[in-house]
Symmetry: C2
Subunit: 890 residues, 2 copies
C-alpha cells in the first residue's frame, strides 16, 4: 500500500511534489536540527485520490493519521483530546508551488469543553484559552462548516462596542468566553446542528476541508494565472500548535532573510507580540519591524538570525520564514524560497554569485521573465513632479515597486469590468483578501488603508509585479459612497490617482510615467545572459524612438518594422485614401509620390538609429479597406441622409449623400468575408505593384542617402504572406529592379536583402522552393497560428479560446505561447527545408511570441538565428535565450 | 544549329510537340502513302523563339523556308512566284493540341498580278482565278494586315446586290475581278500602302501572322479553358494549294471516320462541290452529307472510304479528316483524332475493344472525365411534353447532345453578363465565330440559324459538352430588335426557350429537364472501371433523392451528409432561430426537441436508401449567425424605423423597432471578423453541446429504428474542424454516451463509428494524436486549402485568384484541383501519421475535389480508401480512379 502520511522526520526538501512545499521544508528544517513543532504531512497524492474517488477521503487514511498523531503526542508529551493534557493541532494546506492565502488553514484544533477546562488549568491563562477558542470556532466554522467569518467578525465587533473597548487585547477572559458562546449559538442557528466537539471528527473534517479548498474559484483563478496544473493537488500539514499569544513573552512573525523588495542583504520582516500568525498576515494589526526584536528579546533575536544564516546557506537562496515565540522559545513554522520583486531577484542573483553561493548560470536560471518585466516597469516622472511642485497627498507603505496611474475603483468586480473595457484602474481597498485577486490582476496598481508589507495585498502585488501602496492609514475608505477621504480631499470612484509603489507616495492627480532605467545588477546579469545565449535578439519597432529604446535594452537589430503603422498617422491617412480611391493611374501615382517622401523620412530615421545593425522592413500587409471608413458607419449615414433628402431635399444634403454613397459603394466593393485571408500581403503587391515599388524605393533612397553620410545601413526587405514561391519570385523580381535602379541613380551600394515571412502553412511546407528566392525567413507565428489552427484571433479570443483553456482542451492560449506540436512542427519543417535549399539561411521569428519565454525556448530548440519582440521584452528575450542555452547544455 | 523546318517526309505522328498536331499528322499521312499535297512545317520552337526574341522571326529562318519551298516546287512541278507556272501555298497554324478555329490561316498565297495572269492561262478558268484572288486578298488583309474581313464581306454583299445575284457562284469572272479591285482599293484606303505583291514577302508576313495569332485574346481564353500552356506555341504548316473550287469536278469536305455524336461506326461528314474548305467550316453555305459523294463520284468516294479505313487502323482511333477533290483527284489535307461527344467517346471506346482494336485499359484511359460529364447531361422530360401535347416550334440540326433551357440572348457579351449574374441563357446567333466563345461557354445551350454539324458552333459546343441546335434555317434572327421569328412566333430577348441538342428540336417555352439515363456502353465501361480501380467512390448527399441518384451512378456509400443544409429548409429555420436566440436552457431544449424529430426523419430516409452502405454524417459545421438575418439588412431597417418612430411615433412601429433592435444586437454580438475561422464546427459542439447531442441522438434513433426493420445501417458520425485531439476527445466522449444510451433504450445494436474531418492544418500535422480517438479520417480539402494557402475562398476567387492563375502565379485554382505540393503534403502527413497510430485507418476525401480527376489521381497516390463527390460526378470519379490505377501500374 502506498504510504499516505509522512512524519516530518521521514521527509526532506526534495519531496516537494509529494509533500508540498511547506511539508517538504518543515521536514527539511526538522532534519537539519531547527526548532520545528512536531507534525506530519498527508501527501498530495491523497488529494488526487480524494477527487478521483468522488470527493471522499480514502479508506484507512484516518488510521494512518491516528498513528502519526500518536507519534506527535509522544514527541510533545501531550495527548490529542486529553482533558488534562490536551495536544492542539494546526491543519494547513501546502501544494507544490506556493499559493499564498489561497487555501485554508485551521488552528487550535482539538478544543472542546473538556480540553478547554484542562488547558485553562494547565496554562494558567483563562484569557489565552478563551481567545484561542473563539478563534478556533470562527476559523473552523468558516473553513469547514461554511459559516462566513464575516458574521463572526460582526458579532465580535458588537461585543467590543458593548464592552467599550477598541483593541482585542482589552477584552477579558470573560468577554472572550461570551464571544465563544455567541459564536457557538451562531453556528447552531446557521447550520441547525451543534459544533462538533469530538477532536477526531474535527481533524477529519478539517483535513477534508483543506482538500476542498484546492478547488475554490479563487484558487483556480490563481493557478490559471500562475499556470499551476489543477491535478497537482495540495498536501495537508498537521502539526502541534505553539502559541504566540500566551502572554507578552510570546509573539509571532514573518521574515525574509534578505529584503524581498530590493534584494539588500538585510533581515527583513515584522512581528507582533502576544498574537497568532494570522494577525500579522491578515494585516488586522500593524506589526513592528523585526529589528525591534533585538531590543525586546536579544536571545531569541540572535537565535533567529542564526537560523536565517543556516537556512540561506542550506538552500542557497533567500528564504521566507514564519516563526512563533512561545514563552521565550523560538519555533520555526515555515520556510520557503521567498517571493521577490524584479529588482530584488536580479540583485539577489548577482550578489549571490559574487558571494560565491551560486554560479552565473544558476543566477540566470533563477531570475524569471516576470522579474525582469517588473524591473522594466514605468516610474513617475520626478522632473515633472518637481517642476510643477506636486506633493503627494499622503504616504503609505512601499509594498510593491513601480508606479501606476488610473481611475480609483473600490471593488474587484468593477475593477475587472472597467479593465476589460480598456480603462486603467487603481484598486482602492480597506484591505484585500483572496477574493480580490481578479480585481488586483486587472488593476494598474493597488492602494490599501490597512496591512503591512507582508499583508495579502503586498504579497500578491509583488508576486504579480503590480505596484502597490499598502497600510496607508491616513485614507478612510467609504464603500457606500464609493470614495475615500485623505487629508481633507475626497476622491470619488472614477477620479484619476497615481501611486508610487517604490516610495509609498499617493497623488490625487494623473502623473506622467517614464520607463525604468536599468543598470547595475541588471546590466551585469544581462551581460552574463549575452555570454550564455546563442539566439540573437532583435526588436519590433516602427519608429526611431522605439528603435532607440530597444537598443538601450540590448536589441541587436530590428526584426520587424511594420510599414502600415506609418500609413495610419493622421497626416498620411488622407493620402493613403487618395491612393486607394484613385480613378486613374495618374491619380494613384500622384498619391504614391507623396507617400514616397514621407516613407523615405520614416526609414531614414530608423536606419540612423540602428546604424550598423540589420533592419527588417515588412512591406505593406493589411487589406486596403482597413484604411477606409467602416461599412456599418457609412451605411447608417447613407440611410439617414436618404431620409433627410426625401424630407427636405436640400442641395448640400444631396451632394453629401452622393459622396457618401460613392464611398459606401467602394467600401462594399472591397468588402471581404474573411479579410484575414483575403487581399493582403504579397497578394496586394501583385494586384497593385506600384505601392510596394514605392516602399522599396523609399527604403533604398533612405539607405543610399544615409550610407553616403557614413551610416552603415543593412536593410532586409521582407515580403509578407507568401504561400507559393511564384508570389515571391514575381514581386521580388520587380523590387530587385527598383533596388538596383536606386543604387544606380545614387551611385551608392547598399548591402540589402530580400526575404519573406513564413506565416502561411503552405510556405512552411514548401520552404525549399521558397528559399530559392528568399535570402532570409522570418516566422510570422501569429498568422501561422491562426492558419494552423484555423482560428481567427480576433474572434477566437472573445468567443471560445478562454473556454478552451479553462476546459483544458488547449493547454494554453496558442497566441501567447507557440503551440509546439502544430505550429512548431510547421516551423521545424520550414527551417529544415529552407536550409536544405539554402545553406545557413537566416531564420528568425517576429510574431508576438518572440517575447514569450517558453516560445523562445522552442525557437532555440528549432535552431532559429534570432527572435524579435517589442522593446520592453528585449531583456526578457535575452534572459530566456540564455536559459534555453543553459537548459540545452544539461 | 537547331533544325527549324521539317519537310513532311522528315516528320511523323510522334513529333506532335515539335510539329504541332496538324504537321505531325500530315507527315504521318505522307509517309504511309496517302495523297497529301507537298509541304513542310516550321516548328513550334520557332514560335517560342519568335516571342522570346521580342516578336521577330529568327534570323536565317526564311533561308530554311526558301530551301523547303524549293523542295515543294520540285515535288509539285511548279514554282513559287513563277508567272507562268505559279505554285500557290497555304499557310496554316498547328499547335500540339487542336484549337479549332482559334488561329489564323491564309490560303492562295503567291497570287499577284503576274501569277494571276499566268494561272488564268494555265487553269483555263478566269472565274476560278479571280475567285481565288478575291478570297486571298480578303484573308491576307484580315489576318496579316489587320483589315477586318467584315469590311470585305460588306463590299462583296453590295457587289452581289448590284449584280442582282444571291449566290457567290452566280458571279462571273468579271464580277470577281471587280471585287478584287475594290478589295485592293479598300486595303490602300485602310492601310495607306498597297497590298504586298512579292510572294516571298507575302509568305514571310503570313508566317509571322500565324505566330501572332497564337496570342489573340480568343486563343488565350480557349487555352485557359482547355488548360493548354501558353508556352507550347504553334507550328506553321506551309503546303502546296489544291483546289476544290476549280469547277464541278472539284470539291472539299470534312469527315469523321465514325459518327462523332453517337460513336456509330458510319462515315460521317459533309462536303461542298466547287468550294474551298472554309466554305464548309464557316457554315456560310450548308453542305451536303458525305454519303451523297458516292452517287456524285463513286471512284473518289471509294478511295476516300479506303483512306478512312487505313487511317483508323493506323491510329486505332476515330479520325477527323479534311479533304479536297481537285479535278477528280482526292487530296488529304488533315487528319487528327476526332473530337467526340460523351456518348460517342464511350460507345467508340467500348466498340473498339469489342472490335479488338484496343484493350479495356486503353478504352478506360481514352474516355475523358468531360465525356462522362456530358453523357450525364439532363434531357427534356418527354412525358411532360407528351402529356401537355407540346410540339417543337421548329427543328434544326442535332449538333451537340443534351437539352438546355434558358432566356434567349443574341450576343455573347450579354450572354456572359447575364450568366455571371446567375441567369440561365441560351445563345441565339445567325452563326457563331471564334469571337463568340466566351458567350458560348456562358450559355446553357446554343441555337444557330446557319451552319452544319461541323460548323463552328457545332464543333465548339460538342467540345465543351454544351447542347447545340445548329443550322436551324427556319428561324430568322434580327439583331437590331434582339428577337427572332420562327413559324409566325416572335421570340424576344429574355423569353425562355428550350432546345434539344440530341434531336434538333426547338421549343418556345420552358420545359422540365430530367437526368440522362446511363446504360449500354456506359455500363460496360463503368464495369471495366470498377474492375480496374482500387479507390472507393462515395457520394455527397444530404437527402434520400440525391442518395438514390448517386446509387444509380454507382456510389458505394455516402462520404458526406451535411446536416446544416437540413436546417435551412423553410419549415425548420424558425425552430433553429428559436434555438439560437433561446433565453433559457428550457427554451433551447424545447427547440432542440423539435429539431430532434425532423432530423431523425431526415436520417431515416437516407439510411433506408443506402441500405448496407456506409453513411458518413457530419455534425453541424457553419457558424450559427448564418441562420440569422444579415447585419446590413437589419441595420438598414433599424435606422429607417428609428426615423419613422421619430416622425410619426406609432406604437406598432415602436414595437417593431424594438424587435429589430434586439435582433440587431444579437447579430452584432455574434458578429465575427473572419467567420470561416471563428465559432463553428467542433468549437460549436464544445460551447453548445446540446446541439450535437441532439444530432447524435437523431442519427442513432433513426439507425436503431431501421435496423429493427431489417435495414443494415452503417452510420459514421463525423466531427468537423478538429484541430487538437482534445476537441475530438471531449466531444466524442460525450456523444459516445448518447449513442450508447440510445442503443440501450431501443435494445438495438448498430455498427456506428466516430471519426473526424481533417481540414485544419494542425489536424494533419498531429494526425497520430487524433487517430487515437478517430475511427476514420475524411479530408475536407476545401477548408484545408483555405487554411494551407491562407485564402478565404469567398474572397480569393473574386479578388485575386483569377489574376493569379492568369499571371501563372498558381498553375491552377487550388479550389478546383488539389494543390499537390502544399495541401497534398498535409494529406500525406495526415495519412501517414494517422495510419501509424491506427493500422488501416480508413481515409477518405469529401471536399469538392473528390470529383476532380486530377485530384482523384492524387488521392489514389496518397493511398486514400475512397473519394466522395456529388452524385453526378460519381461516374467520373469511378473513371478517374480506374485511370489512376492503370497509370500506377505502368
Amino acid at each position: 500500500m502506498t504510504k499516505r502520511v509522512y512524519l516530518f522526520r521521514e521527509g526532506n526538501a526534495t519531496m516537494r511534489d509529494l509533500l508540498g512545499g511547506k511539508g517538504a521544508n518543515l521536514a527539511e528544517m526538522s532534519n537539519i536540527g531547527l526548532p520545528v513543532p512536531a507534525g506530519f504531512t498527508v501527501t498530495t497524492e491523497v488529494c488526487t485520490e480524494y477527487y478521483e474517488g468522488g470527493e471522499k477521503l480514502p479508506e484507512g487514511l484516518m488510521d494512518e493519521v491516528r498513528a502519526a498523531v500518536a507519534d506527535v503526542e509522544k514527541d510533545m508529551g501531550k495527548k490529542f483530546g486529553d482533558p488534562n493534557n490536551a495536544l492542539l493541532l494546526s491543519v494547513r494546506s501546502g501544494s507544490r508551488f506556493s499559493m499564498p492565502g489561497m487555501m485554508d488553514t485551521v488552528l487550535n484544533l482539538g478544543l472542546n469543553a473538556e480540553t478547554l477546562a484542562g488547558l485553562e488549568k494547565s496554562s494558567g491563562s483563562s484569557r489565552f484559552v478563551w481567545d484561542s477558542n473563539r478563534r478556533f470556532i470562527m476559523m473552523f466554522s468558516d473553513v469547514v462548516l461554511g459559516v462566513s467569518k464575516h458574521k463572526f467578525e460582526a458579532l465580535f465587533g458588537e461585543l467590543k462596542k458593548r464592552k467599550g473597548v477598541t483593541q482585542d487585547t482589552d477584552l477579558t477572559a470573560e468577554d472572550l468566553k461570551e464571544a465563544s458562546n455567541e459564536f457557538l449559538a451562531l453556528v447552531q442557528k446557521e447550520r441547525g446542528v451543534g459544533f462538533p466537539s469530538d477532536p477526531w471528527e474535527q481533524l477529519e473534517l478539517a483535513t477534508e476541508a483543506v482538500f476542498q479548498s484546492w478547488n475554490t474559484d479563487r484558487a483556480k483563478v490563481y493557478r490559471k494565472k500562475e499556470r499551476i496544473p489543477d491535478e497537482f493537488g495540495t498536501a495537508v500539514n498537521i502539526q502541534a500548535m505553539v502559541y504566540g499569544n500566551l502572554g507578552d513573552d510570546c509573539g509571532t512573525g514573518v521574515a525574509f532573510t534578505r529584503d524581498p523588495s530590493t534584494g539588500e542583504n538585510l533581515l527583513y520582516g515584522e512581528y507582533l507580540m502576544n498574537a497568532q500568525g494570522e494577525d500579522v498576515v491578515a494585516g488586522v494589526r500593524t506589526p513592528v519591524p523585526i529589528s525591534q526584536l533585538e531590543t525586546q528579546n536579544k536571545a531569541v533575536y540572535d537565535e533567529f538570525v542564526a537560523v536565517c544564516h543556516k537556512l540561506e546557506g542550506h538552500y542557497k537562496d533567500m528564504q521566507d520564514l514564519e516563526f512563533t515565540i512561545e514563552k521565550g522559545r523560538l519555533f520555526m513554522l515555515q520556510c520557503r524560497s521567498g517571493k521577490r520583486t524584479g529588482p530584488a531577484a536580479v540583485n539577489l542573483a548577482v550578489d549571490m554569485v559574487e558571494e560565491g553561493l551560486i554560479t552565473k548560470e544558476e543566477a540566470i536560471v533563477r531570475v524569471e521573465a516576470a522579474h525582469l518585466d517588473q524591473l522594466l516597469h514605468p516610474r513617475i516622472d520626478t522632473n515633472y513632479v518637481a517642476e510643477n511642485s506636486i506633493k503627494p497627498v499622503t504616504k503609505g507603505l512601499a509594498a510593491s515597486p513601480g508606479a501606476a496611474v488610473g481611475k480609483a475603483v473600490f471593488d474587484s468586480d468593477t475593477a475587472q469590468r472597467l479593465a476589460n473595457a480598456g480603462e486603467k484602474v487603481l484598486l482602492v481597498r480597506e484591505e484585500t483578501n483572496p477574493d480580490d485577486v481578479h480585481g488586483m490582476l486587472a488593476a494598474q496598481g493597488i492602494l490599501t488603508a490597512r496591512g503591512g508589507k507582508t499583508s495579502h495585498a503586498a504579497v500578491v502585488a509583488r508576486g504579480f509585479g503590480i505596484p502597490c501602496v499598502a497600510g496607508c492609514e491616513s485614507i478612510s475608505v467609504d464603500y457606500a459612497t464609493r470614495s475615500f477621504d485623505v487629508n481633507g480631499v475626497t476622491v470619488s470612484e472614477g477620479d484619476v490617482i497615481s501611486v508610487n509603489g517604490s516610495t509609498g507616495e499617493v497623488f490625487v492627480q494623473e502623473l506622467p510615467l517614464i520607463a525604468a532605467d536599468v543598470s547595475g545588477s541588471f546590466g551585469t546579469l544581462m551581460g552574463w545572459c549575452d555570454e550564455a545565449r546563442t539566439l540573437g535578439v532583435r526588436t519590433n519597432a516602427d519608429n526611431p524612438r522605439d528603435s532607440r529604446q530597444a537598443l538601450d535594452f540590448g536589441a541587436e537589430g530590428i526584426g520587424l518594422c511594420r510599414t502600415e503603422h506609418m500609413f495610419f498617422e493622421p497626416d498620411r491617412l488622407p493620402v493613403v485614401r487618395d491612393m486607394i480611391l484613385a480613378k486613374s493611374d495618374a491619380q494613384r501615382d500622384a498619391a504614391l509620390q507623396k507617400l514616397l517622401g514621407v516613407q523615405e523620412d520614416d526609414f531614414a530615421g530608423i536606419f540612423e538609429a540602428m546604424d550598423g545593425k540589420p533592419v527588417t522592413i515588412r512591406l505593406i500587409d493589411p487589406p486596403l479597406h482597413e484604411f477606409l471608413p467602416s461599412h456599418a458607419d457609412l451605411l447608417k449615414e447613407v440611410v439617414e441622409l436618404r431620409v433627410a433628402v426625401n424630407l427636405t431635399g436640400g442641395e448640400a444634403t444631396k451632394a453629401l449623400l452622393e459622396e457618401k454613397e460613392t464611398m459606401l459603394k467602394t467600401v462594399e466593393g472591397m468588402h471581404e468575408f474573411n479579410p484575414m485571408m483575403g487581399l493582403r500581403g504579397v497578394r496586394l503587391s501583385i494586384i497593385l505593384p506600384g505601392l510596394v515599388a514605392m516602399q522599396t524605393r523609399a527604403i533604398m533612397q533612405a539607405a543610399c542617402k544615409l550610407q553616403k553620410r557614413g551610416v552603415t545601413v543593412l536593410p532586409e526587405i521582407m515580403i509578407p504572406l507568401v504561400g507559393h514561391v511564384n508570389e515571391l519570385k514575381n514581386v521580388q523580381t520587380q523590387l530587385e529592379a527598383v533596388a538596383k535602379a536606386v543604387q544606380e541613380e545614387t551611385g551608392v551600394e547598399v548591402a540589402y536583402k530580400f526575404g519573406t515571412m513564413i506565416e502561411i502553412p503552405r510556405a512552411a511546407l514548401t520552404a525549399d522552393e521558397i528559399a530559392e528566392y528568399a535570402e532570409f525567413f522570418s516566422f510570422g507565428t501569429n498568422d501561422l497560428t491562426q492558419m494552423c489552427f484555423g482560428y481567427s484571433r480576433d474572434d477566437a479570443e472573445g468567443k471560445f479560446l478562454q473556454e478552451y483553456v479553462e476546459q483544458k482542451i488547449l493547454p494554453r492560449n496558442p497566441f501567447e505561447t507557440i503551440d509546439a506540436d502544430g505550429v512548431g512542427e510547421l516551423m521545424r519543417i520550414g527551417v529544415e527545408k529552407g536550409r536544405k535549399q539554402r545553406k545557413g539561411l537566416k531564420c528568425g521569428i517576429c510574431g508576438e511570441h518572440g517575447g514569450d519565454p517558453e516560445s523562445i525556448f522552442l525557437c532555440h530548440k528549432l535552431g532559429l538565428d534570432y527572435v524579435s519582440c517589442s522593446p520592453f521584452r528585449v531583456p526578457i528575450a535575452r534572459l530566456a535565450a540564455a536559459q534555453a542555452a543553459i537548459a540545452d547544455k544539461s
